[in-house]
């Protein structure tokens, strides 16, 4: 264990810092969950790409920098230090990109990865269905083989980015007689294909980040299938592993929030309760703990280890931390908390953040599901009711 950076790591940090200071927008972008904000965020993806900072962990061959996980953590620390915007391309960078690298053909890698790296194509995920949320194996949307095409009929919902994104990925039932985890196929599709209707869902803050997708005999070429017919569940599990595991939420994000919370506390110290003071200290401690743990897991992976149930622990920890930090901020803000804009005209980012933080324990596998996984796979408690 070494707590000091190497000279190379220090130099890399300085390089990222200089670029971010020169390029991160001075004013916060409009929320990603509306047309105007989405366009601003896509523009930011292209700016990142112009400096080759879009997909830093990807191999150079696919438009990345081939950084190791420690360098990635340093990059993220500097990204959030500079107040970098949310990533419109999140689904591509950490979910679909690594999955295509692992399961895709050479042709698919060429076709999909480079435009993803350049921010030219933004991807939406299409996991959930009205009857398949936490229970993803209950998927019923069908893809029927017809020559060189699949014909897709069904419905997806809660699709992140789908209100505005270009392409989507998800699982479809290719074997009509199959049940549960079997007979599912992982398919990539152009959301503008004939037969797809997207219906943006208005979220509780009033904006539209996710959408429903309706498929009415949508023809998708067979070459858009990833890893072969019927392999969908295995591919999705790998994807879910990446997502929940290390990379969905890097520590820098929460350390930045904790630091802003400390600043907020100082402003409101005179009227703050001792409980709020302790909650602020807890926020710093938990964000640091999350960082140490991520560095430890990264070191383990770099030494050849794999992530298992730790992915579920991670997701529980960061999502509940994020919610509690924002709750504390709302308490500190008191009567100002409900204001969408403060007196000086600035956006109440804590309110937006609090509302967003409420989705954390729900998406990417609800925390109840994560606790089941932890209890069953890590602690070895008996399963019930799963088919």
């Amino acid at each position: 264990m070494h707590l000091e950076c190497t000279p190379e790591q220090d130099a890399f940090r300085a390089e990222v810092r200089a670029w971010m200071e020169a390029h991160v927008p001075k004013e916060p972008l409009v929320t990603l969950e509306c047309r105007e904000g989405y366009d601003q965020h896509v523009e930011w993806e292209r700016t990142l790409s112009s400096g080759n900072w879009g997909m830093v962990t990807w191999p150079e061959a696919y438009g990345g920098r081939g950084l190791d996980l420690i360098q990635w953590l340093i990059f993220e620390e500097e990204y959030f230090r500079a107040g970098g915007p949310n990533r419109a391309n999140q689904n591509g960078i950490f979910l679909l990109g690594p999955t295509i690298m692992e399961f895709g053909t050479d042709e698919q890698k060429k076709r999909f990865l480079t435009p993803m790296a350049k921010g030219e194509v933004i991807w939406a995920q299409a996991w959930s269905e009205p009857g398949a949320g936490s229970d993803m194996a209950a998927i019923s949307s069908k893809a029927v083989r017809d020559g060189d095409h699949y014909v897709i009929t069904g419905q997806k919902t809660w699709s992140s980015r789908a209100a505005f994104a270009d392409w989507g990925f998800g699982m479809f039932r290719t074997d009509p007689d199959s049940k549960r985890h079997k007979g599912l196929t992982f398919i990539l599709f152009d959301i503008n294909s004939p037969g797809i209707t997207r219906r943006p869902i208005r979220q509780l803050h009033g904006d539209t980040g996710f959408a429903e997708l309706f498929f009415d005999e949508v023809r998708v070429p067979v070459e858009n299938c990833l890893a072969g017919e019927g392999e969908g569940w295995n591919v999705a599990m790998a994807t879910a592993g990446f997502e929940r595991g290390l990379m969905l939420r890097s520590p820098g994000r929460f350390q930045a929030t904790a630091k802003r919370l400390v600043d907020l506390y100082r402003k409101h110290e005179a009227e703050a309760s001792p409980a709020a003071r302790e909650a602020v200290l807890q926020a710093w401690m938990a964000a640091q703990a999350y960082a140490y743990n991520t560095y430890a897991v990264a070191a383990k992976i770099m030494a050849g280890g794999k992530i298992g149930a730790e992915a579920s622990l991670n997701k529980i920890f960061w999502s509940e931390l994020d919610r509690s930090m924002h709750r504390t901020a709302m308490q500190l803000l008191g009567a100002h908390a409900e204001l969408k804009r403060f007196d000086d005209g600035s956006v109440n980012q804590w309110l937006e953040g609090y509302i967003f933080s409420l989705s954390g324990p729900i998406y990417a596998g609800s925390n109840e599901v994560q606790r089941n996984i932890t209890a069953e796979r890590m602690l070895g408690l008996p399963r019930v009711g799963a088919g």
Binding site: H2, L3, R81, R371, M378, L381, V384
Partner: protein, 309 residues
């Protein structure tokens, strides 16, 4: 910059774990509880494994290892609820003497001939020391009343760090006891561990424990390196480990139901040690105050770019 525990470090901890699991199970705790809580044969076994000399330099007959190695083994001592004063003597006392340049006793400590009772102003007692006996809730602790005027901050940090390390091991053990009980206790026609009401509580303990561990290892390295910020990291570790252990203790007794309230079930040994160590070497409030002074007081650089400040 890395948080890697090396294969050697993990292998040594595993060796100690296996040894203690084989020689210091609950039946030994019950024997010690009935017959007097120190056993020269157990102590000699620890000496023979080299553990009393873990931090003693090789020139004085020790293994010359560091505080991260010691913290990993202290966690194993917690896991087995070890009664002998190994952690105090070998992992707190030895590095404290070394830091003061007092090396004349180290060879005797490594050889197991000497233990080091540690008096500090933060504690109203001395463990395994001379004086009027005080009775601890933990039947394995031998406490004596002591007028402690030593307020050395390094000794305090070493004591707090190693208490934190033991607490994560204790928490691990209590979680394990609760899990094993939940697998075999049947009600309503199924093991109670199949109920989500049980699963989710135990999973919450696992989260608290797994996120306390790297805080402890990081603090051990910071103290080993004598970083200016080490005291904050030690305090963070003590708070995180205390919270994980107390949560797990309360959850574990709940999962055991009425059986958990009996002397017959083993859980209470671990729970009592957790209560004792939570208050030893600085309470939660004391350590939270040190974090407060650093984070809100502004003496520590915070934010994403300062992970290892």
């Amino acid at each position: 910059m890395d948080m890697l525990l090396t294969e050697d470090q993990l292998a040594l901890a595993e060796t100690v774990r296996d040894y203690l699991a084989g020689t210091h199970g609950p039946e030994v705790l019950r024997r010690l509880d009935a017959e007097g809580n120190r056993d020269p044969a157990i102590w000699q076994g620890l000496v023979d494994m080299g553990l009393t000399g873990l931090l003693v330099p090789e020139a004085q007959g020790g293994l010359g290892m560091g505080l991260v190695d010691a913290a990993l083994i202290a966690a194993e001592c917690g896991r087995t609820c070890l009664a002998e004063p190994l952690v105090d003597t070998a992992f707190v006392g030895v590095p404290w003497l070394q830091a003061q340049g007092k090396t004349d006793q180290l060879a005797d400590v490594a050889a197991g001939r000497v233990t080091l009772p540690l008096a500090h102003a933060i504690n109203p007692w001395v463990a395994d020391g001379a004086g009027v006996a005080l009775k601890s809730v933990d039947p394995m602790r031998n406490l004596a009343a002591s007028a402690n005027d030593n307020a050395d901050p390094h000794l305090l940090n070493l004591g707090a760090l190693m208490s934190a390390a033991q607490l994560v091991g204790l928490a691990d053990a209590m979680l394990h006891l609760a899990v094993e009980y939940a697998k075999i206790r049947t009600q309503f026609g199924q093991p109670i561990g199949a109920f989500q009401a049980i699963k989710h509580q135990l999973a919450t303990c696992a989260v608290a424990i797994e996120f306390a561990k790297p805080v402890v290892w990081q603090a051990a390295q910071a103290l080993q390196d004598r970083r200016p910020s080490a005291a904050v990291h030690v305090s963070h570790a003590k708070v995180a480990a205390t919270d994980a252990a107390i949560l797990t203790a309360e959850t574990a007794i709940q999962v055991h139901g009425a059986m958990g309230y009996t002397y017959e079930v083993d859980l209470h040994f671990w729970m009592k040690r957790s209560w004792a160590l939570s208050g030893a070497w600085g309470t939660r409030a004391f350590h939270l105050k040190r974090v407060d002074d650093a984070v809100l007081g502004g003496t520590l650089a915070i934010g994403p770019e300062n992970t290892f400040a």
